[in-house]
Symmetry: C2
Subunit: 336 residues, 2 copies
DNA sequence: CTGAAAGCGCTTACAG
DNA sequence: CTGAAAGCGCTTACAG
């Protein structure tokens, strides 16, 4: 069985009575081998439990059969769904996936993380984090590592892009609140100012109000942070206004959950006194009470698309850069 | 700058006017180099942007500087915290971490995933999934890959172990409900029967009741699944009993959230008519209403400990197998 | 249909 | 303090 020391391709060749060349070709299928020889080799591979050394193979082929995903926070449910989608496709293609964290603040800096990944000679990188400088992106591309960026535009840098239709999703949500449900004063709580995807989502909110002929009131828009705490702070500000809103849409679900906290604390019925809507449809969105009306952020499907794009490129696709946009989907629950 | 083709160690040697041997030693620090030479080499490395090829290095050193984590579900918050803890330590030691999913049902089978990882010659594996056969574990150990198992006992297989004090945690929780809060009929909703960590947690429940002199009533224990749906089904069963419980402790938070659903739907006040407690302290536990009384599952710290153990072993520690147990911590919130 | 041999880019005894 | 050279285990032109 597994004696001391690993089984090498020469061991298989000896056991099967052929050259290492032939063993290699049986395994890769890159050259025809007679049925009898193939059977002997396959038997030896199986009997000895041979598995090619990836370092040796990688040194020859200049591939690592490994792709990377960079996200700001690996515990964020959106990012784990993303990772799951990538892994699903990668696993089927015998690629390993490494997920790396490059926090928006604190922890390893993005350029350091990217440098580590290019040092590892990954075959491809999915960049699921905003805020990369153009120079860093160009360095990835120049190193020969394929790149897929998430949530941005094709013109913003090298590589392909996958994104959800965020502006359209938020617009559809707000149009529903204003049109079907008849809310008149719809407020908006954004995340950190200038941080995506807050801008895209705000744009949808703005478009919907404009299309309905409503004014976008500055006193009903507040930017805090993409957290529950941000939602609490934002809700307090909006509700303390001279004319508070009758509905609040939030840049993400965590913010909306913070708004629910404040509503409960102030004894406001949701959606009776205040309608609340989020964005992303995280797990917790259906666990809070009332359950959150929100827009699906198709994280898993974004991951799948990104992995497919990367794999096509690794396989040699040299066509022009592509941008894949995934449709939005509004989920109506109890909160709005 | 980065012309065509990657910078190799010979390029650095040529630029610095020394041998590749010296370049290698400057980088590794494994041999004294004169200050002047060192400076020339470091300058060349920096100027050319040299990064050693990991495949070539790995082929020589027989290391991949990569460790793996195997979990049943990478989107489960407990597992992402685990991964975050491992990555935190691994990153500081220049190790890459790959997280692989081997679902309890459907998807890639555990032996196939483990085979893929040993084929990749990982330096170490953290096994965060139950249900591995002894033979599979022995194969990992025999392949020279260091192993840390989570949530089991040292006697169950090769390698080191890290686990939380689950039985003690559940026992402390139930003792609080019975002792301080005075609940008399405390029910238990478990996950899938026979699936850990359900057994450990049930044992804590059992011990607490026994210590308080309460009988463990079979009609107050039900095994469903570690999901919100499982909690709903379990709650329905318990509440339809001739003498329903006045409190329910659950094998995890998702189950407890399912119980809250049923309580709300039936108009039962929590904790007035029915106290509810969970286990794990996932994010959603503090988002539901009332917020869940639960026990912290120190996932991140378990990850950190596992990574440290693995790194010690990779560094050459050959001492006897170790079992690290992390203390429990009950979190009292509104639900019980 | 098959094999002998070069070479991928490192690290590390060995030698001085 | 420094260097020439072997060799890690593969894949793949090249040759027949």
């Amino acid at each position: 069985m597994h004696g001391s020391g690993r089984v090498k391709i020469v061991d298989v060749a000896a056991a099967a009575g052929v050259s290492v060349t032939t063993v290699s070709h049986v395994i890769s299928g890159r050259r025809p081998v007679s049925a009898a020889t193939r059977a002997r080799v396959e038997d030896a591979v199986h009997r000895l439990g041979y598995q090619a050394d990836p370092s040796a193979r990688g040194l020859r082929t200049q591939r690592t059969d490994t792709i990377g995903l960079v996200v700001p926070d690996i515990t964020n449910p959106f990012n784990t769904e993303l990772a799951a989608g990538i892994q699903e496709i990668a696993y089927a293609h015998d690629l390993l996936t490494v997920v790396c964290e490059a926090p928006m603040s604190g922890g390893p800096q993005l350029p350091a993380v990217l440098r580590q990944l290019t040092a590892r000679r990954l075959d491809g990188i999915v960049l699921g984090r905003f805020g990369a400088r153009r120079a860093d992106l160009d360095l990835i591309a120049a190193s020969g590592t394929r790149l897929v960026r998430l949530g941005t535009r094709i013109a913003d840098g090298p590589g392909d892009v996958v994104r959800g239709a965020e502006t359209e999703g938020m617009r559809a949500l707000v149009e529903h609140l204003v049109g079907e449900r008849g809310y008149r004063r719809v407020g908006f709580i954004g995340g950190e100012p200038g941080v995506e995807p807050g801008g895209e989502r705000y744009e949808g909110y703005r478009q919907a109000l404009a299309a309905a002929g409503h004014a976008v009131l500055p006193e009903l828009t507040v930017w805090t942070g993409f957290t529950r705490e941000g939602g609490r702070a934002g809700a307090a500000r909006l509700l303390d206004a001279a004319q508070p809103p009758d509905a609040v849409v939030c840049a993400n679900d965590l913010i909306a959950i913070g708004v629910l906290d404040v509503a409960r604390q102030r004894g406001l019925a949701v959606p009776g006194n205040l309608a609340v809507a989020g964005y992303d449809d995280i797990d917790a969105a259906s666990m809070v009470s009332p359950a959150l009306t929100t827009v699906v952020n198709p994280a898993r499907e974004i991951g799948r698309s990104a992995a497919r794009l990367l794999i096509d490129r690794i396989a040699g696709d040299t066509g022009p850069a592509r941008e894949v946009v995934l449709a939005h989907q509004v989920v109506l629950r109890g909160s709005a």
